[in-house]
Symmetry: C2
Subunit: 217 residues, 2 copies
Amino acid sequence: MARRDRDPSPVVPKAAAARLSLYLRFLESLREHGVPTTSSQKLAAGVGVTAAQVRKDLGYFGQFGLPGIGYRIDHLVDELRRILGTDRTWNVALVGIGNLGSALAEYRGFERQGFRFVALFDRDPAIVGRAFGSLAVDSIESVEPVVRVRGVELGIIAVPAPAAQEVADLLVAAGIRGIYNFAPAVLQLPPQVAYVSIDLAVELEQLSFSVTQQRPT
Amino acid sequence: MARRDRDPSPVVPKAAAARLSLYLRFLESLREHGVPTTSSQKLAAGVGVTAAQVRKDLGYFGQFGLPGIGYRIDHLVDELRRILGTDRTWNVALVGIGNLGSALAEYRGFERQGFRFVALFDRDPAIVGRAFGSLAVDSIESVEPVVRVRGVELGIIAVPAPAAQEVADLLVAAGIRGIYNFAPAVLQLPPQVAYVSIDLAVELEQLSFSVTQQRPT
DNA sequence: AAGTGTGAAGGCCTTCACAGCA
DNA sequence: TGCTGTGAAGGCCTTCACACTT
């Protein structure tokens, strides 16, 4: 007996989605140089993949190219932004204003892509109240009301590993929709909350592994 | 006609190597709690993969388990460190002492895994000379001699995107063996130089993509 | 009885190759 | 002619299943 609604939306390989951001970065830099169109070949060379892969990846989301011509950069940039969800502004909260958190709070790269910090939290009373630009650090106690009032949708966790799960639970309880975790810990989250995790030391270990194996990544 | 030396060393899936670090983190935390042994099942639950995957991944590097018992944690930690190359200390140089670079210079997580900063560089005269712990920031001009004299093997790039390739070239010319890049740029490097790249904003875009698709990563 | 190590099967992702369009 | 879009083929990675070990 056939099941209805089996796999309702197009299945996009996770790896393909990850490359979309790289394509977008490269297209933006081309646009800054006034280039009007490009090809899958040039795009591929710019981000270090094959031309077939570029076409296949874009093909999961629609038809954006012109046979014989290539891709109109303005158009493809708009489409990629829409697909990635960065054609709008996201309200972001940052929890943990230590070394890494402070740097993230001042990092300009997020804002450029449509991510805006609207709340900063820390547990340490010596840090609560400190100002970053026009934003003041709030106490971790006030996560729930602040997240709701300011319409925070994404949370960034930059606290020590032992506190990470607890912070994640707070953010989830406050209704956050996605978590970006820098703590070296694996978080347990409900399936409806999106999750991206980066462990800076793990990545560095991958480098020492590559060097040790005498093989470039 | 058969080719000699075809594929001389065991082929390890890249993804498998990446998980080794996660296994190591989890094992270290178990050890801190005084646990003497564990199983592929428990290890898998701790890092969010399947037990078969754990056994397969470890199987690429040797036989570390005891049938009926599991894995001796002390032993497996030592083996993983050896495999990942973190059973020794690595001398690391950090280039670009802005917000992110400053945070990385003070981040304790690297040292804990055997990575030691022995040189800091920046182009800005206002930053050169500033001290981080016992380390002073050197001018970018002195990369080559400093890298050679202090035996730097790995370089971390935390400069703006337009300067990243130039900095990478300097590090390569100085004889560095691996580069960890935080700049939102794709670097061209000779094949013998290992390469790991993280774009913090790209990862955040993956989060907004997941939320937009209403699908957890 | 419990749990590893591993060939075989399966599935997903990448590469190939070319029809079709500008 | 140049380049995209896309089925088909190929390859890599994951999952399965069980022989084997303690």
